[in-house]
Symmetry: C2
Subunit: 363 residues, 2 copies
DNA sequence: ATTGGTGCTGCAAAGGTTTGCAGGAGAAGT
DNA sequence: ACTTCTCCTGCAAACCTTTGCAGCACCAAT
């Protein structure tokens, strides 16, 4: 029922190859013929069959994007950015959700492998060796994790954690807790590593709590634990947990930031709307989405391969395995305040930034 | 490089059709042969090429899902439900985001048409005739809109709006404002229709404000307008706007629910965490996602078509155009309270429900 | 011995598109 | 008049899989 290239050819009195070229290599066909073909194609409602095209070119013009949890507000900006960047290059994005389940990740990659030209693997929880194995089935770009030999884009959460700890130490906090993220998270390990180092350098104690589910409930559930460790400041794995913690502390009757300071990571839009507004480390998620798409599609000029069967289902053969690190930025709002060891003098007073403009403060 | 059915056939000494059947019709091949084929396939790392399969069967085993805005927390539960329902039937979901842009919708449907077996069109903003036109390119199920002749699943927001208005009227409110949704939204029109009727029946005045963008900012921006119309209660198009309104009113120094009562629609998870907790109309979004997938795939037993070229790219030829309406439920929390016309006596006192359990109150 | 089944496998066409190669027409250069 | 070149178009193979049909071997029943 749907019109094919053959119908268009018949109706406009040319060979099918001419029709094909009209769409995929317009400069090779006589302008006159071309417009005639285009007209009949239009009138027949012809649309190229991507499956057939994929079969012979080996390019589907789709890319997969696998995230842990669509409902986590961290991801939508990244997804949107990736989508729009892909759309500019005439690619489509196939979003899938693993529900924070490590085993679902491999399944999903494998299932997608043959119907996409590459996969963006976001915050994977599976092992490095498994990721590497997946990368043999389909070109992969990893986001939020560094895997040697694979192209990846990460945020510099290490720097972010350092900034956060220094900010807290500068405010006079000496007992700090770190609310760890989910098991298997590279980001979580990275934060932990950097935070421990920064705390030692600043002469503060850092107690690591976790692993925890990276959700509001996870943060709320940790409130009691936070109270028991007797800290005066907390750095959370992400904003969602920080916000949950804010609520948990509130229902325990603990005031923020007067009694306990809280810092999140990510700067999701919600963190501007909590009360108190959340001090957090902004991560450039949209930029990450764009960068990942660019890396995946870097060698794709949509130039026709010499022979159709070269590089099947692969955008690029010998890919450069670049690793991009994006800068983070500490945004100081109202959830952090002076701690018990704040030296006298105005030097160390935090100037709370208001509005969406990021402000960076070093002690 | 990747192994094909032919490689497996050669390596295991059978014809390619036997390999094919091993995967797509196992009961037709000798168990002994089958296991041998499976073994060699495994060792070669063979994975069926979905593009080739799609080409001949006309089934891609993909479905598209088009939403207005992934970042809107209304959608993720729907997306997740659709995904998991689809996965059970061995389908994949292709999520795309229109950024609330009506013209992007058609583009997206058309672009998807050939690479999916059907599309779930969620809260479309385009015209009915355009939708109908799209449905000629690819099987469509419309969510959150009633289009005659097309299968659709909607929430009974009319009943929800009625319940909300009756709730407010029962609390003694006589001046009510309706914060309308975006232009082109069927849901918005439906709410408006039902709310006007219910308000008249209850002897209350209803002022309609809008259209507004269905976001927190949209709600916040309307706060001033709400104040000027002099109402004592507001029903918002969705929770996001209601929450924005809560903030807007707060920064105007107007207390909720003491001075103005606010009701949302959707019951997104965030609405349980605002202060005051939001009274809202719960819409069964997950059920809607599941139902839509079921409708799209209803006649798909994955039974092989007699001839491969039957029903190309279409799950079903003569589809029953069922229209499903899902029930909504008023959830009373803390953002609604007594209005100026509350009669004496305990009869009309609202008993605020707490926790996630929905409670339904008729005046 | 013939017939009729049953259970399995091979054959080959088909699906829609791309693309290297060859060929034709006309123009231009010698 | 011959070659050479440029532009365009047609030819046909190839991509990988599914599936109706036919054929084979074997067994049971007549």
């Amino acid at each position: 029922m749907p019109a094919t290239i053959r119908d268009v050819a018949r109706a406009s009195g040319v060979h099918i190859s001419t029709v094909s070229r009209t769409f995929s290599a317009p400069h090779l066909v006589n302008p006159e013929t071309r417009s005639r073909v285009l007209a009949t194609a239009e009138s027949l409602g012809y649309r190229p069959n991507r499956a057939a095209r994929a079969l012979i070119t080996g390019r589907t013009h789709n890319v997969g994007l696998i995230v842990a949890d669509i409902a986590n507000p961290f991801f939508p900006p990244l997804i949107k950015a990736a989508e729009s960047q892909a759309r500019q290059r005439d690619y489509h994005v196939f979003v899938a959700d693993t529900n924070e389940d490590a085993t679902a990740e491999e399944e999903l990659v494998l299932a997608m492998a043959k119907q996409v030209d590459g996969v963006l693997l976001c915050s994977p929880r599976m092992s490095n060796s498994l990721i590497e194995q997946c990368s043999r089935e389909v070109p992969l770009v990893v986001i939020n994790r560094l895997v040697t030999g694979l192209p990846s884009v990460v945020m510099d959460v290490g720097q972010g954690a350092r900034d956060a700890i220094e900010h807290l130490a500068g405010l006079g906090h000496r007992q700090i807790a770190l609310l760890g993220g989910p098991r298997g998270s590279w980001t979580s390990r990275e934060i932990r590593r950097a935070a421990l180092l920064a705390a030692r350098a600043a002469g503060a104690d850092l107690t690591v709590l976790g692993p925890n589910p990276p959700t509001e409930d996870g943060g709320a559930a940790a409130a009691d634990q936070v109270r028991r460790v007797g800290c005066t400041a907390v750095l959370a794995y992400n904003d969602l947990m920080a916000i949950g913690l804010l609520e948990g502390l509130d229902s325990l009757g603990i005031r923020v930031p007067e009694e306990i300071s809280v810092v999140g990571i990510d700067d999701i839009s919600l963190s501007r709307r909590t009360r108190p507004k959340l001090t957090t480390v902004a991560t450039p998620t949209a930029a990450a989405g764009r960068a990942a798409i660019d890396m995946l599609l870097q060698h794709d000029n949509t130039a026709p391969s010499r022979t159709g069967r070269a590089a099947p289902t692969a955008v690029d053969g010998r890919r450069t395995t670049a690793q991009v690190t994006l800068q983070t930025e500490l945004v100081i709002r109202d959830s952090t305040g002076p701690g018990p060891h704040l030296p006298a003098g105005p030097t160390y007073a935090a100037t709370a930034a208001s509005g969406p403009v990021a402000s960076y403060v070093k002690e």
